[in-house]
Amino acid sequence: MDGNVHPHDAWSRALFKQFKDAGVKLFSYIPDAGNARLVELADADNETRTVLLTTEEEGVSLAAGADLVGEKAVLMMQSSGVGNCPNFLSFVKGGNFPILMFVSMRGDYGEQNPWQFPMGEAVEPILKAMGVLVFKVERADELEGAATAALDTAFKAGKSAALVLSQKFLGAKGF
């Protein structure tokens, strides 16, 4: 691999194009290795805007506010951040707000940090409990289809969706 190219460059470019083609304008985030390249691409593009949050739940309400004025947002976070979101995900079940989430996993395939497992294992039960459909990606050839499904679920069907990228896809961090 070329040492100057971000390790997540190729799929991040493809996914950013899918988000942009679907009309996503706001990319809110708490930084993670899994969303770093996406944030750079959204920053560099004149038609999209990144919003650095202080806690992931802010991105849920940011997306709900954008929806009220007809704008589309994606909320990007590491899996641990899903634990900061449930109360605000009341917008989903109570209000039918379409929230699109992008979750890069820790605490699953190949994890070496024991602190990551509790939230890693809780991601899908939490999202399910709050009415967010999960589209999980474990292999590179699954990403495009899962992203299309998540985007259509959120912005065509109006049902909240999370695109969840496993460490099997992303690669596990060494300690």
Binding site: L52, L53, T55, E58, S61, L62, G65, V69, E71, F97
Partner: protein
Amino acid sequence: MTEVTLNRIGALPQIFPNPDDYLFVTGLAGPARDAAALTNDGANMFTMAGCMGAAMTMGLGMALGAPDRDVVVIAGDGEMMMNIGSLATIASQAPKNLTVVCVDNGGHGETGGQDGHTSVRTDLAKVADGFGIQNILTVSTEAGLKDAAAFVKSGDGPRFLWLRVMAGEPTKFKRNMNPAECRVRFKTAFQAA
């Protein structure tokens, strides 16, 4: 800090005499009732009765998504404190069309009037300044409402208006608390405008 003599009842209509000019979002409890009375639960306002702490970034999402509209957040001090970091998120984005109004009664009126941090030591104007909000005004008297009305129309946002009010009942007003209905109501009116 100066003595607080401002009565919350009737304060918002003096600050926003033309409420149809704005898009509003409110947090929960008393400030939502004060605000709903201001617009008669109008379609240009989304009020909450849950998701405590969500109002500030919901307003930011509206302001970034509708840059040619003036967006106002109305939130209590408890709502502000629950997600005080939102002021940093707002300051970094620096939307010129966003005003945050904190109706601060110094406590948790909805649950029995228990003291909040602003009745102890927390100074929200210093907090907002520290987070990087450029335009800040504190009002705690009836006479200050004229300044508040001028402040929300002057210069560029983001603005932070710290409205310190006496403890006491909020405006008596019953609003629609079904979020799905209110979402559709707001979106429909926004698209038609």
